[in-house]
Amino acid sequence: MVPGLANIFTSMGDYLYEGLIEQDRWLLLLKGLGNTVIIALFATLIGVVIGILVAVAKVAASQNRKLRWLGMLCDLYLTVIRGTPIVVQLLIMYFSLFAFITNAIPVAIITFGINSGAYVAEIVRSGIMAVDKGQTEAGRSLGLTQSMTMRYIVMPQAIKNILPALGNEFIALLKETSVAGYIALMDITSASNLIRGRTYNNAPLYVTALTYLVLVIGMTKALGYFERRMAKNDQR
Protein backbone atom coordinates (compact mmCIF):
# COMPACT_ATOMS: atom_id res chain seq x y z
CA MET A 1 0.00 0.00 0.00
CA VAL A 2 1.07 3.58 -0.67
CA PRO A 3 2.40 5.00 2.63
CA GLY A 4 0.46 8.25 2.30
CA LEU A 5 -2.81 6.44 1.84
CA ALA A 6 -2.03 3.97 4.61
CA ASN A 7 -1.34 6.90 6.82
CA ILE A 8 -4.79 8.31 6.13
CA PHE A 9 -6.67 5.07 6.60
CA THR A 10 -4.84 3.73 9.65
CA SER A 11 -4.47 6.74 11.82
CA MET A 12 -6.75 9.45 10.55
CA GLY A 13 -7.11 10.88 14.04
CA ASP A 14 -3.38 11.18 14.69
CA TYR A 15 -2.93 12.61 11.26
CA LEU A 16 -5.50 15.37 11.72
CA TYR A 17 -4.30 15.98 15.26
CA GLU A 18 -0.74 16.53 14.14
CA GLY A 19 -1.63 18.68 11.17
CA LEU A 20 -4.27 20.85 12.76
CA ILE A 21 -4.39 20.70 16.55
CA GLU A 22 -0.77 20.29 17.66
CA GLN A 23 0.85 23.64 18.48
CA ASP A 24 -2.48 25.29 17.67
CA ARG A 25 -1.80 25.01 13.96
CA TRP A 26 -5.49 25.58 13.18
CA LEU A 27 -5.02 29.10 14.44
CA LEU A 28 -2.52 29.70 11.65
CA LEU A 29 -5.02 28.38 9.10
CA LEU A 30 -7.75 30.53 10.59
CA LYS A 31 -5.57 33.60 10.36
CA GLY A 32 -4.77 32.68 6.75
CA LEU A 33 -8.46 32.27 6.02
CA GLY A 34 -9.11 35.72 7.46
CA ASN A 35 -6.53 37.23 5.10
CA THR A 36 -7.90 35.31 2.13
CA VAL A 37 -11.40 36.60 2.81
CA ILE A 38 -10.23 40.18 3.38
CA ILE A 39 -8.18 40.21 0.18
CA ALA A 40 -10.91 38.62 -1.93
CA LEU A 41 -13.66 40.83 -0.51
CA PHE A 42 -11.92 44.17 -0.98
CA ALA A 43 -10.39 43.15 -4.31
CA THR A 44 -13.89 42.27 -5.53
CA LEU A 45 -15.17 45.70 -4.49
CA ILE A 46 -12.26 47.46 -6.21
CA GLY A 47 -12.69 45.23 -9.26
CA VAL A 48 -16.39 46.05 -9.57
CA VAL A 49 -15.78 49.80 -9.25
CA ILE A 50 -12.94 49.75 -11.80
CA GLY A 51 -14.89 47.40 -14.06
CA ILE A 52 -18.00 49.58 -14.19
CA LEU A 53 -15.96 52.76 -14.72
CA VAL A 54 -13.87 51.24 -17.51
CA ALA A 55 -16.90 49.67 -19.19
CA VAL A 56 -18.85 52.94 -19.13
CA ALA A 57 -15.78 54.83 -20.35
CA LYS A 58 -15.32 52.41 -23.24
CA VAL A 59 -18.97 52.62 -24.26
CA ALA A 60 -18.90 56.42 -24.03
CA ALA A 61 -15.67 56.52 -26.05
CA SER A 62 -17.18 54.37 -28.77
CA GLN A 63 -20.05 56.86 -29.15
CA ASN A 64 -18.13 60.11 -28.90
CA ARG A 65 -15.16 60.84 -31.12
CA LYS A 66 -13.79 63.39 -28.66
CA LEU A 67 -13.27 60.66 -26.07
CA ARG A 68 -11.17 58.41 -28.27
CA TRP A 69 -8.12 58.88 -26.06
CA LEU A 70 -10.14 57.51 -23.13
CA GLY A 71 -11.03 54.41 -25.11
CA MET A 72 -7.40 53.86 -26.01
CA LEU A 73 -6.38 54.26 -22.37
CA CYS A 74 -8.95 51.64 -21.36
CA ASP A 75 -7.76 49.29 -24.09
CA LEU A 76 -4.17 49.65 -22.89
CA TYR A 77 -5.25 48.75 -19.34
CA LEU A 78 -7.26 45.73 -20.51
CA THR A 79 -4.46 44.48 -22.76
CA VAL A 80 -1.70 44.75 -20.18
CA ILE A 81 -3.71 43.30 -17.30
CA ARG A 82 -5.25 40.44 -19.24
CA GLY A 83 -2.02 39.78 -21.12
CA THR A 84 0.24 39.17 -18.12
CA PRO A 85 0.03 36.54 -15.35
CA ILE A 86 -1.41 37.60 -12.01
CA VAL A 87 1.64 36.22 -10.16
CA VAL A 88 3.96 38.44 -12.19
CA GLN A 89 1.69 41.42 -11.58
CA LEU A 90 1.73 40.66 -7.88
CA LEU A 91 5.54 40.44 -7.75
CA ILE A 92 6.01 43.67 -9.72
CA MET A 93 3.54 45.54 -7.52
CA TYR A 94 5.02 44.33 -4.23
CA PHE A 95 8.71 44.43 -5.03
CA SER A 96 8.81 47.37 -7.42
CA LEU A 97 5.86 49.73 -7.85
CA PHE A 98 4.66 49.58 -4.24
CA ALA A 99 8.00 48.66 -2.67
CA PHE A 100 7.50 51.48 -0.17
CA ILE A 101 4.50 49.66 1.32
CA THR A 102 5.79 46.88 3.58
CA ASN A 103 2.41 45.43 4.49
CA ALA A 104 1.67 42.91 1.74
CA ILE A 105 -2.08 42.73 2.30
CA PRO A 106 -3.04 46.15 0.90
CA VAL A 107 -0.72 45.55 -2.04
CA ALA A 108 -2.43 42.22 -2.72
CA ILE A 109 -5.88 43.85 -2.45
CA ILE A 110 -4.92 46.56 -4.95
CA THR A 111 -3.28 44.09 -7.35
CA PHE A 112 -6.14 41.60 -7.35
CA GLY A 113 -8.62 44.48 -7.59
CA ILE A 114 -6.91 45.98 -10.62
CA ASN A 115 -6.61 42.55 -12.17
CA SER A 116 -10.25 41.62 -11.61
CA GLY A 117 -11.37 45.05 -12.82
CA ALA A 118 -10.17 44.22 -16.32
CA TYR A 119 -12.31 41.10 -16.48
CA VAL A 120 -15.31 42.74 -14.83
CA ALA A 121 -15.02 45.63 -17.33
CA GLU A 122 -15.49 43.34 -20.29
CA ILE A 123 -18.37 41.52 -18.60
CA VAL A 124 -20.12 44.80 -17.77
CA ARG A 125 -19.49 46.17 -21.25
CA SER A 126 -21.08 43.09 -22.82
CA GLY A 127 -24.06 43.62 -20.50
CA ILE A 128 -24.41 47.27 -21.50
CA MET A 129 -24.20 46.41 -25.20
CA ALA A 130 -26.91 43.77 -24.76
CA VAL A 131 -29.45 46.30 -23.47
CA ASP A 132 -31.69 47.36 -26.35
CA LYS A 133 -30.75 50.70 -27.89
CA GLY A 134 -34.39 51.75 -27.63
CA GLN A 135 -33.98 51.92 -23.85
CA THR A 136 -31.33 54.59 -24.15
CA GLU A 137 -33.39 56.43 -26.77
CA ALA A 138 -36.47 56.37 -24.56
CA GLY A 139 -34.46 57.74 -21.64
CA ARG A 140 -32.84 60.47 -23.70
CA SER A 141 -36.12 61.42 -25.37
CA LEU A 142 -37.55 62.16 -21.91
CA GLY A 143 -34.76 64.66 -21.39
CA LEU A 144 -32.58 62.51 -19.14
CA THR A 145 -28.85 63.11 -19.57
CA GLN A 146 -26.55 60.42 -20.90
CA SER A 147 -25.23 59.62 -17.42
CA MET A 148 -28.72 59.51 -15.86
CA THR A 149 -29.87 57.17 -18.62
CA MET A 150 -26.87 54.94 -18.01
CA ARG A 151 -27.38 54.95 -14.25
CA TYR A 152 -31.14 54.53 -13.95
CA ILE A 153 -32.06 52.67 -17.12
CA VAL A 154 -29.20 50.84 -18.81
CA MET A 155 -27.02 49.75 -15.90
CA PRO A 156 -29.74 48.09 -13.77
CA GLN A 157 -30.75 45.96 -16.75
CA ALA A 158 -27.14 45.22 -17.68
CA ILE A 159 -26.25 44.10 -14.15
CA LYS A 160 -29.21 41.76 -14.04
CA ASN A 161 -28.16 40.08 -17.29
CA ILE A 162 -24.51 39.69 -16.36
CA LEU A 163 -25.03 38.44 -12.82
CA PRO A 164 -24.09 34.82 -13.68
CA ALA A 165 -20.90 35.94 -15.45
CA LEU A 166 -20.04 38.29 -12.59
CA GLY A 167 -20.55 35.45 -10.13
CA ASN A 168 -18.06 33.40 -12.12
CA GLU A 169 -15.53 36.20 -11.89
CA PHE A 170 -16.00 36.61 -8.13
CA ILE A 171 -15.48 32.88 -7.63
CA ALA A 172 -12.41 32.88 -9.87
CA LEU A 173 -11.02 35.84 -7.95
CA LEU A 174 -11.47 34.15 -4.58
CA LYS A 175 -9.51 31.13 -5.77
CA GLU A 176 -6.89 33.25 -7.52
CA THR A 177 -5.98 34.88 -4.22
CA SER A 178 -4.31 31.56 -3.38
CA VAL A 179 -1.19 32.82 -5.16
CA ALA A 180 -0.92 35.73 -2.71
CA GLY A 181 1.71 33.74 -0.82
CA TYR A 182 4.20 34.79 -3.48
CA ILE A 183 4.58 38.13 -1.72
CA ALA A 184 5.30 36.92 1.81
CA LEU A 185 1.70 36.99 2.86
CA MET A 186 -0.12 34.45 4.98
CA ASP A 187 -3.31 33.49 3.20
CA ILE A 188 -4.96 30.14 3.87
CA THR A 189 -3.08 28.40 1.04
CA SER A 190 0.37 29.56 2.10
CA ALA A 191 -0.50 28.83 5.75
CA SER A 192 -1.38 25.24 4.95
CA ASN A 193 1.70 24.88 2.77
CA LEU A 194 3.82 26.22 5.60
CA ILE A 195 2.47 23.59 7.98
CA ARG A 196 2.99 20.89 5.37
CA GLY A 197 6.60 21.98 4.92
CA ARG A 198 7.29 21.83 8.62
CA THR A 199 5.45 18.60 9.46
CA TYR A 200 5.25 16.66 6.21
CA ASN A 201 1.56 16.40 7.11
CA ASN A 202 -0.88 16.98 4.23
CA ALA A 203 -4.07 17.31 6.26
CA PRO A 204 -4.05 21.16 6.22
CA LEU A 205 -4.06 21.06 2.39
CA TYR A 206 -7.26 19.04 2.41
CA VAL A 207 -8.79 21.31 5.01
CA THR A 208 -7.84 24.30 2.86
CA ALA A 209 -9.39 22.75 -0.25
CA LEU A 210 -12.55 22.05 1.73
CA THR A 211 -12.63 25.63 3.01
CA TYR A 212 -12.46 27.09 -0.50
CA LEU A 213 -15.17 24.67 -1.59
CA VAL A 214 -17.48 25.76 1.22
CA LEU A 215 -16.85 29.43 0.44
CA VAL A 216 -17.56 28.93 -3.26
CA ILE A 217 -20.75 26.96 -2.58
CA GLY A 218 -21.87 29.75 -0.27
CA MET A 219 -21.17 32.36 -2.95
CA THR A 220 -23.03 30.33 -5.56
CA LYS A 221 -26.04 30.14 -3.27
CA ALA A 222 -25.93 33.88 -2.55
CA LEU A 223 -25.68 34.71 -6.25
CA GLY A 224 -28.57 32.41 -7.06
CA TYR A 225 -30.62 34.26 -4.48
CA PHE A 226 -29.83 37.63 -6.07
CA GLU A 227 -30.59 36.30 -9.55
CA ARG A 228 -33.99 35.11 -8.40
CA ARG A 229 -34.68 38.40 -6.68
CA MET A 230 -33.78 40.43 -9.74
CA ALA A 231 -35.87 38.18 -11.98
CA LYS A 232 -39.03 39.02 -10.03
CA ASN A 233 -40.28 41.42 -12.72
CA ASP A 234 -39.90 38.81 -15.46
CA GLN A 235 -42.97 36.83 -14.47
CA ARG A 236 -45.66 37.22 -17.02
Binding site: E137, A138, G139, G143, T145, I153, N233, D234, Q235
Partner: protein, 240 residues
Protein backbone atom coordinates in the same frame (compact mmCIF):
# COMPACT_ATOMS: atom_id res chain seq x y z
CA UNK B 1 -43.06 75.85 -33.42
CA UNK B 2 -40.71 73.54 -35.34
CA UNK B 3 -38.82 74.85 -38.29
CA UNK B 4 -36.62 72.65 -40.47
CA UNK B 5 -34.25 74.17 -43.03
CA UNK B 6 -32.28 72.21 -45.59
CA UNK B 7 -32.12 69.09 -43.44
CA UNK B 8 -29.86 66.35 -44.74
CA UNK B 9 -28.90 63.11 -43.06
CA UNK B 10 -26.41 60.55 -44.35
CA UNK B 11 -25.55 57.16 -42.87
CA UNK B 12 -22.06 56.67 -44.25
CA UNK B 13 -22.43 57.29 -47.96
CA UNK B 14 -26.16 56.57 -47.93
CA UNK B 15 -28.05 59.86 -48.12
CA UNK B 16 -31.34 59.22 -46.31
CA UNK B 17 -32.71 62.76 -46.12
CA UNK B 18 -32.04 64.95 -49.13
CA UNK B 19 -32.80 68.48 -48.04
CA UNK B 20 -36.05 68.87 -46.14
CA UNK B 21 -37.72 72.21 -45.45
CA UNK B 22 -40.74 72.15 -43.19
CA UNK B 23 -42.65 74.37 -40.80
CA UNK B 24 -44.83 72.87 -38.14
CA UNK B 25 -47.14 75.26 -36.30
CA UNK B 26 -48.52 74.98 -32.79
CA UNK B 27 -51.62 72.79 -32.67
CA UNK B 28 -50.99 71.09 -36.00
CA UNK B 29 -51.31 67.34 -36.35
CA UNK B 30 -48.85 66.49 -39.08
CA UNK B 31 -49.02 62.93 -40.35
CA UNK B 32 -46.11 61.59 -42.38
CA UNK B 33 -46.69 58.64 -44.68
CA UNK B 34 -44.60 56.95 -47.30
CA UNK B 35 -43.04 53.63 -48.25
CA UNK B 36 -40.58 52.02 -45.87
CA UNK B 37 -37.04 53.28 -46.30
CA UNK B 38 -38.30 56.66 -47.42
CA UNK B 39 -36.71 58.45 -44.44
CA UNK B 40 -39.90 59.21 -42.45
CA UNK B 41 -38.60 57.80 -39.18
CA UNK B 42 -35.17 59.34 -39.68
CA UNK B 43 -36.81 62.72 -40.24
CA UNK B 44 -38.88 62.36 -37.08
CA UNK B 45 -35.83 61.24 -35.07
CA UNK B 46 -33.87 64.26 -36.29
CA UNK B 47 -36.49 66.56 -34.75
CA UNK B 48 -35.32 65.66 -31.21
CA UNK B 49 -31.76 64.85 -32.26
CA UNK B 50 -31.96 61.10 -31.68
CA UNK B 51 -30.26 61.27 -35.08
CA UNK B 52 -27.71 64.02 -35.62
CA UNK B 53 -28.37 65.83 -38.90
CA UNK B 54 -25.50 65.90 -41.37
CA UNK B 55 -26.55 69.31 -42.70
CA UNK B 56 -29.23 71.91 -42.16
CA UNK B 57 -30.94 73.58 -39.23
CA UNK B 58 -33.78 72.63 -36.92
CA UNK B 59 -35.43 75.27 -34.76
CA UNK B 60 -37.79 74.51 -31.89
CA UNK B 61 -39.65 77.27 -30.04
CA UNK B 62 -37.19 79.88 -31.22
CA UNK B 63 -34.00 77.95 -30.42
CA UNK B 64 -31.71 76.32 -32.90
CA UNK B 65 -31.42 72.76 -31.57
CA UNK B 66 -28.76 71.88 -34.14
CA UNK B 67 -26.45 74.55 -32.68
CA UNK B 68 -23.52 73.03 -30.77
CA UNK B 69 -24.19 75.04 -27.60
CA UNK B 70 -27.86 74.08 -27.42
CA UNK B 71 -28.92 72.17 -24.30
CA UNK B 72 -30.76 69.37 -26.05
CA UNK B 73 -31.74 67.63 -22.80
CA UNK B 74 -33.70 70.71 -21.77
CA UNK B 75 -35.51 70.88 -25.11
CA UNK B 76 -36.28 67.16 -25.21
CA UNK B 77 -38.28 67.62 -22.01
CA UNK B 78 -40.72 69.59 -24.15
CA UNK B 79 -40.75 67.05 -27.01
CA UNK B 80 -42.41 63.78 -26.05
CA UNK B 81 -41.60 60.75 -28.16
CA UNK B 82 -43.43 57.47 -28.63
CA UNK B 83 -41.63 54.56 -30.26
CA UNK B 84 -42.71 51.65 -32.40
CA UNK B 85 -41.44 49.17 -29.83
CA UNK B 86 -42.78 51.08 -26.79
CA UNK B 87 -39.39 51.06 -25.03
CA UNK B 88 -40.86 50.92 -21.55
CA UNK B 89 -38.23 50.27 -18.90
CA UNK B 90 -38.75 46.58 -18.02
CA UNK B 91 -36.96 46.77 -14.66
CA UNK B 92 -39.28 49.49 -13.34
CA UNK B 93 -42.96 49.33 -12.45
CA UNK B 94 -45.46 51.13 -14.63
CA UNK B 95 -45.69 53.99 -12.12
CA UNK B 96 -41.89 54.22 -11.89
CA UNK B 97 -41.66 54.32 -15.68
CA UNK B 98 -43.83 57.41 -15.62
CA UNK B 99 -42.29 59.15 -12.61
CA UNK B 100 -38.59 58.45 -13.31
CA UNK B 101 -37.83 61.42 -15.56
CA UNK B 102 -39.95 64.05 -13.72
CA UNK B 103 -38.34 63.06 -10.40
CA UNK B 104 -34.73 62.65 -11.55
CA UNK B 105 -34.85 65.89 -13.52
CA UNK B 106 -36.13 67.69 -10.44
CA UNK B 107 -39.38 68.80 -12.06
CA UNK B 108 -41.61 67.19 -9.46
CA UNK B 109 -41.32 65.83 -5.95
CA UNK B 110 -41.85 62.09 -5.57
CA UNK B 111 -45.42 62.32 -4.16
CA UNK B 112 -46.41 64.88 -6.75
CA UNK B 113 -45.03 62.76 -9.59
CA UNK B 114 -46.81 59.72 -8.19
CA UNK B 115 -50.09 61.67 -8.17
CA UNK B 116 -49.59 62.74 -11.76
CA UNK B 117 -48.78 59.18 -12.78
CA UNK B 118 -51.93 57.82 -11.13
CA UNK B 119 -54.05 60.54 -12.70
CA UNK B 120 -52.64 59.69 -16.14
CA UNK B 121 -53.08 55.96 -15.58
CA UNK B 122 -56.61 56.58 -14.43
CA UNK B 123 -57.30 58.44 -17.62
CA UNK B 124 -56.31 55.44 -19.74
CA UNK B 125 -58.06 53.04 -17.38
CA UNK B 126 -54.88 51.33 -16.22
CA UNK B 127 -54.54 52.59 -12.64
CA UNK B 128 -54.68 48.98 -11.42
CA UNK B 129 -51.43 48.35 -13.33
CA UNK B 130 -49.42 51.00 -11.48
CA UNK B 131 -47.35 48.40 -9.65
CA UNK B 132 -47.14 45.90 -12.50
CA UNK B 133 -44.00 45.46 -14.57
CA UNK B 134 -44.08 46.08 -18.34
CA UNK B 135 -43.49 42.43 -19.34
CA UNK B 136 -46.83 41.60 -17.69
CA UNK B 137 -48.78 43.92 -20.01
CA UNK B 138 -50.26 43.61 -23.49
CA UNK B 139 -48.81 45.57 -26.40
CA UNK B 140 -51.69 48.02 -26.43
CA UNK B 141 -51.36 48.65 -22.71
CA UNK B 142 -47.61 49.14 -23.08
CA UNK B 143 -47.99 51.68 -25.84
CA UNK B 144 -50.67 53.64 -24.00
CA UNK B 145 -48.41 53.74 -20.95
CA UNK B 146 -45.52 54.85 -23.15
CA UNK B 147 -47.73 57.71 -24.35
CA UNK B 148 -48.66 58.85 -20.85
CA UNK B 149 -45.03 58.49 -19.78
CA UNK B 150 -44.21 61.12 -22.39
CA UNK B 151 -47.23 63.19 -21.33
CA UNK B 152 -46.02 63.24 -17.72
CA UNK B 153 -43.26 65.58 -18.89
CA UNK B 154 -45.90 68.06 -20.05
CA UNK B 155 -44.51 68.33 -23.58
CA UNK B 156 -45.39 71.01 -26.12
CA UNK B 157 -45.20 68.55 -29.00
CA UNK B 158 -45.50 64.79 -29.29
CA UNK B 159 -43.55 62.78 -31.85
CA UNK B 160 -44.97 59.36 -32.77
CA UNK B 161 -42.73 56.90 -34.64
CA UNK B 162 -45.03 54.23 -36.07
CA UNK B 163 -46.82 53.81 -32.73
CA UNK B 164 -49.13 51.02 -33.88
CA UNK B 165 -46.84 49.05 -36.22
CA UNK B 166 -45.72 46.53 -33.60
CA UNK B 167 -49.20 45.91 -32.21
CA UNK B 168 -51.57 43.02 -32.73
CA UNK B 169 -54.46 44.25 -34.90
CA UNK B 170 -57.02 44.17 -32.11
CA UNK B 171 -54.88 46.53 -30.01
CA UNK B 172 -54.34 49.19 -32.65
CA UNK B 173 -57.71 50.79 -31.91
CA UNK B 174 -57.12 51.58 -28.25
CA UNK B 175 -53.81 53.32 -29.03
CA UNK B 176 -55.26 55.35 -31.90
CA UNK B 177 -58.19 56.29 -29.69
CA UNK B 178 -55.83 57.77 -27.09
CA UNK B 179 -53.93 59.64 -29.81
CA UNK B 180 -57.21 61.06 -31.10
CA UNK B 181 -58.06 62.31 -27.62
CA UNK B 182 -54.72 64.06 -27.44
CA UNK B 183 -55.33 65.64 -30.81
CA UNK B 184 -58.72 66.93 -29.68
CA UNK B 185 -57.11 68.48 -26.62
CA UNK B 186 -54.97 70.55 -28.95
CA UNK B 187 -51.63 68.76 -28.61
CA UNK B 188 -49.20 69.49 -31.43
CA UNK B 189 -48.41 66.12 -32.99
CA UNK B 190 -46.06 64.75 -35.61
CA UNK B 191 -47.01 61.19 -36.47
CA UNK B 192 -45.21 58.73 -38.71
CA UNK B 193 -47.70 55.97 -39.44
CA UNK B 194 -49.18 53.54 -41.91
CA UNK B 195 -52.68 54.10 -40.53
CA UNK B 196 -54.30 55.99 -43.41
CA UNK B 197 -57.61 56.18 -41.54
CA UNK B 198 -55.90 58.04 -38.72
CA UNK B 199 -54.18 60.37 -41.17
CA UNK B 200 -57.48 61.19 -42.81
CA UNK B 201 -59.46 61.60 -39.62
CA UNK B 202 -57.03 63.29 -37.26
CA UNK B 203 -54.36 64.89 -39.42
CA UNK B 204 -54.50 68.59 -40.21
CA UNK B 205 -51.83 68.06 -42.85
CA UNK B 206 -50.43 64.94 -44.47
CA UNK B 207 -46.89 64.72 -45.85
CA UNK B 208 -45.80 62.12 -48.37
CA UNK B 209 -42.14 61.19 -48.21
CA UNK B 210 -40.17 59.08 -50.63
CA UNK B 211 -36.43 58.65 -51.12
CA UNK B 212 -35.56 61.25 -48.52
CA UNK B 213 -37.75 64.06 -49.78
CA UNK B 214 -41.21 65.43 -49.08
CA UNK B 215 -42.87 64.96 -52.44
CA UNK B 216 -46.31 66.24 -51.61
CA UNK B 217 -48.26 67.75 -48.75
CA UNK B 218 -51.94 68.51 -48.54
CA UNK B 219 -54.87 68.75 -46.21
CA UNK B 220 -56.09 65.17 -45.68
CA UNK B 221 -59.13 65.47 -47.94
CA UNK B 222 -57.14 66.69 -50.91
CA UNK B 223 -54.27 64.33 -50.11
CA UNK B 224 -56.40 61.23 -50.44
CA UNK B 225 -58.99 62.44 -52.95
CA UNK B 226 -56.76 64.28 -55.34
CA UNK B 227 -53.10 63.26 -55.13
CA UNK B 228 -50.87 65.06 -57.63
CA UNK B 229 -47.50 63.29 -57.52
CA UNK B 230 -47.45 60.05 -59.53
CA UNK B 231 -45.45 58.31 -56.78
CA UNK B 232 -48.09 59.26 -54.24
CA UNK B 233 -50.84 58.05 -56.57
CA UNK B 234 -48.99 54.78 -56.90
CA UNK B 235 -48.44 54.55 -53.13
CA UNK B 236 -52.08 55.26 -52.31
CA UNK B 237 -53.32 52.75 -54.87
CA UNK B 238 -51.34 50.10 -53.02
CA UNK B 239 -52.26 50.97 -49.42
CA UNK B 240 -55.89 52.02 -49.72
Amino acid sequence: MISVKGLEKAFGTNLVLKGINEEIEKGEKVVIVGPSGSGKSTFLRCLNLLETPTKGEIWFEGQEITAPKCDINKLRQKMGMVFQHFNLFPHLTVAENITLAPIKLGLQKAEQAQETALRLLNRIGLSDKADAYPPQLSGGQKQRIAIVRALAMNPDVMLFDEPTSALDPEMVGEVLELMKELALEGMTMVVVTHEMGFAREVGTRVLFMDEGMILEQQKPDAFFANPQNPRLQDFLSKVL
